[in-house]
Structures are given as C-alpha cells and as structure tokens.
Amino acid sequence: MPVAFVFSELGQQVVSGLASGAVYAALALALVIIHRSTGVINFAQGEMAMFATYIAWTLDVNHGFPFWGAFFATLAISFVGGVAIQRAVIAPIQGASVLTIVIVTIGLILVLNGAATWLWTGEVRAFDSPFPTRTVDVGGVAISLQDVGTLAVVVGAVAALWAFFRFTKLGLALRAAALNPEASRLVGVRVSWMLALGWGLAAMLGAVAGMLTAPTVFLDPQMMQAILIYAFAAAVLGGIDSPVGAVVGGLLLGVGLNLIGTYAEIDVWFVHVDLTAAELRLPIALFVILVVLLVRPAGLFGKPEVKKV
C-alpha cells in the first residue's frame, strides 16, 4: 500500500521511533554495564527490570509509598538484589564455562518471571509516570513530554555513568577488574566485589528502564520480554561495551524499525520487496544483531577486539 510521503507523518514516525528507542536504550544500558564489568551477557536483564518495576509498583500502591519514595527505594532494593544475585548464583560459576552461565541466567529468567506472576498475577497494571503526560504539537508532529523526559533520563544516566567510570576511583576499579582481574588483585582491587558492584549497577539501571517503560506500555510480567531482543540489538549495534553506543543504538533502532515498517515497500525490478509487515519487526532486529556481529562485532562505538594467541 503506497504511503504518501508527508513530512509530518515522517516526523511522527521518527518521533515515535525515538520514544520506543529510548526504552530499548534504557535496557540496553543495563546490558552494556553488566557486560562491560563482568563479561557476562545477562539474558535475565529484562526480567530483573520487570521484577524491580513490580517492587516499585507494590510499594506505591500496596504500601502507600509516595511515588518518588518508591522510586528511590526500588533503586536501592535493585542494587542490593543485583549484588545478591551475583554473589549467590553467578560468582560460584564465574570461572566455569560460558554455557553454565547461560543456563544459570536462563534459570533466573524462569524464577523471576514465575515469581512475579505468583506474587502479583498476570493482570495488567497502571504505573505512574514521573513526567507530565501532556503532548506538545510541533508542526503537525505530536511530541509527548513523557517521552522527552524518558530520553532525558537515559541520556543523563549515560552521562553519569561516563563520569563515574572516568573520574571516580570506584569506576576505575570496576574497569580494571573487568579488563585484567589478575593485575587488579595485585594492586588491591577487590575483584569479586567489583563484579558484584557491576551487577548491582546494572540492576539499578534495569529498574530505571522498567520504571520508564511501564507508564506507557503498562505493567505485566511479560512487559520486558518483547523489549529484550530490541535491547540486545541496540546494545550490539552500539557496541556491547559502550554506554553511549547503547543509547545511540537504541534510538537508531527505534527510528529505523519505524521507518522500515512504514516505508520499506518497493519494487526492485520484478521482485516486490515488502518489509513493512508487522511480522517482520522482530526478524529485522535479529538481522541487525547478526549483521553487526559478523561485519563489525565491536559495534558503532566499541573498540575492535584483538584476540591474543
């Protein structure tokens, strides 16, 4: 179905894409932090974020916390939770094969998803947004202040992380522990606690991602599952060790998917190529993952890895 090329429509798809992309970026940030500080790809990141959002929700709704109280309490609880998970479940197998780690993170997915369903049922819940819900109209394009706020928080988180890694001793220790655990131990860095700190940080970021997403997509145990693949695609695209890359990757992915989904229908000679189908959104994200991993595994902002023999 040919779509007339109207600027305001294009603008709207771009803006919507940025909004969806900010959500992908938020979760991608958590993925990047864990990978950067512990070398682990955490398949359970989405479920951890979802569970944290439920904690915020239950504090707010069932225990009478004010919104911001619940928000910061959740960040604290997530941090502790992330540390606890790393110490209890990941640390014992840190040296074991990659496969063991994959299986354990899968086990975490099942436990967290099951626990959320068991504790709070599968019913859809509303989640308050810290941002006003007004929409501003700019040249025919509707821009939601909520989405602007989400994007601002994500960018702010990246900036804070950057500063943390660059300028603080703790950040330096984290980076050192990830890069060269042996040497770090020699200079007095408590490597095992640095790994736990990485998980705690990532858990906190995941909680933020969840709490930014839930106001729009509404809270249920499956909330993050759809987003996880897109977050992985964003992280891979931007560079799996680069926080900036995660954000850029997320935004590019969000806008790109929307544009492909709206306009990518053309006739190449006698072949009708239609990529606008709703079914293809997920496969396109997969395609992005595959292509990036094959062509430039370091992503847009990562440093190409040199394998030492």
Partner: protein, 346 residues
Amino acid sequence: MGRPTSRTVSLGALFLAGCAVVYALPAFISSFRAQQFAYVGIYLIALIGLNILTGYTGQISLGHGAFMAIGGYTTGILISDQGLQIAGHTFSNDVKDLWTIPIAAVVAGAAGFLFGLPALRLSGLYLALATFAVAVSAPAVFKKFETFTGGGTGINLFGIKGLTGSISGVHVFGHKLDFYDWLYYLSWTIALVLLAAAWLLLRGRIGRAFRAVRDSETAAASSGVSLATYKTLAFAVSAAYAGVAGALYAIANTYVNPDTFPITLSIFLLVGVVVGGLGTLSGLVVGAVLVQFLPLWSQEISKSPGAPAVVYGVILIAIMLALPGGVAGLLRRVLPLARRLYTRPR
C-alpha cells in the same frame, strides 16, 4: 589394542540391551505413556544433535528449536493440503510422512550449514545471543510466509492421508499398533539408529577434530584442523538431527504452527543437553527425559500461577551450581562401572 576393543564390545552389549528394553517397554505401559516416551525419543534425537554442536565443538546454540521448526514445517507442508504445487501437480496427494523425514534432515541440515558459515565468526556468548535471536524471531518468519506455512493458523495434520496411522493404526510385521505405539516405535527406532550413527561419527577422526576445536581453537588450527570445515560440519549435522526431531514432532503433534516451536523449546533443549551431561552420549537420555517431564513435575509441586516456573528455574540453577558436569558427570563419579564405560573416549 585389547582395551578399546573390549570396551567397544561392552558398549555394544549395553546398546543392544538398551534396544531390547526400548522395544519391550510398550508391553508394560499404557498407550498414553508410550506416547509420552515417544516425545522423549524425539527430544533425544534433537539433543544428540545439539550435543554434537555444543558438547563436541563448543558452539552454544539457543536456537535449535528453530531447526526443529524447519524440519517440522517441511513435513507439514509436504504432506498436507497446504499444497506445495509444482507444475499444477499437488504434491501432498502422494507424499507419506515417513519419506519427509530424510527430506527434513536435509533441509534443516542445509539451514544449519548456512547458519554455521557466518557463525564461524561468533564465539561463546555472542553465538548464544545470535542463536537466541534466531529462535525468538523464527516463529515470526514462519508466520510471514503464510501461503506455505498457513501463517498463524498453522497446518492440521490429523487424519490426513500422508500421516500414518493417526486414525486406524498401523500394521507392522503382522502386529497391529495403535497410533501412540506407532509413534513410540518410530521415534525410538530412528533415535537408536541416529545414536549409533553419532557414536560412529564421533569416535573417529571427525570426533577428535571436533573435540580439538572445542578445547582450543588456536591449537587445533595450528595443527592443521580446518576450523571452518569442522565447525560448519558440526552445525549442519546437529541441525539435521534437529530437523529429524522436528519432523517427528510435527507427526506426533499432528499439528504445526509457529507457536508450537517457541523460544522455550530451544531453551529446554539446551537445558536438557547441559543438565544431562555434555560431551557424553549417555547423559542425553536423562536430558531428554527432563525436557519432557520436568515441566510436568514442576506443575505437580504447585499449580498456582507462576510457581512451576519458579520450581523449574530453581532446580536448574541448583543443578548448575552443584553438578557442573550434569547428571552424567554425577553418574561417572558414582558408578565405577560407569566410569569404565562412560569415560570420554580419548
């Protein structure tokens, strides 16, 4: 060279004993149980394949459900009225489900080979991530090509001509088998044959090359083992096994649609092969039993929503922490006889 021969003989004897048990079992269990054990056989085939890939060459796949789906849809499309038409002749009128099994193996194997080529450049967690993404998006791709696959509605196979025995049972060697017993014997016969084939494949040069690749790619490459050849071969073979399993899965379910091959299938397969015991063919039966029955057992413990998943996940994590070698590793430590028979061939 007396020792390997006597071990081979004892392995052979054990195999034959196993075959005897498998073939005799249906006489002692209900038809319904036979059907459940048929699925164990099907998962065993997929796990043998996955074991070749992950256990023997160290390539992690969270996407074998997608290869099963390829096999399953191959069978479904070929035997149903979904009607693959070539030059006006409707294929499905003549095709029997059994013939589609080797075809499914070939198609899935080709897909595995095609995926294995780019996968050469991915390692460890990245490969896991890539195969995870494949498994998550595969149902969407099957949904898109509606004319072949029936889209979301899928393909119903029950009672159609090409599906052996779903209504009236089957006559084999003078015995009448009902549909479930037929499924059981079909899947286990194929499983045992493919098990022997895998054993033969792995005990020779190819198996050694696979293990060399797993233990150290650099060392293998520098001693002349072509990484590309063996890694893609492993992918192709394991995908072919998964394709056979998928074809049998479609036959056993009498139904194919994208939701019958969800990401959880891929995840449970990997769980099965790791928990059963990687790198050894013996722990795979345990793994296959777990894939079929652990979700059911988790429900026995508690039916309230979400609880079975928690139980399953906790068991999984506990086993990974306590038994990194899987159940086969446990057996190896516990049974002295097993130690002699189950030791990884050098």
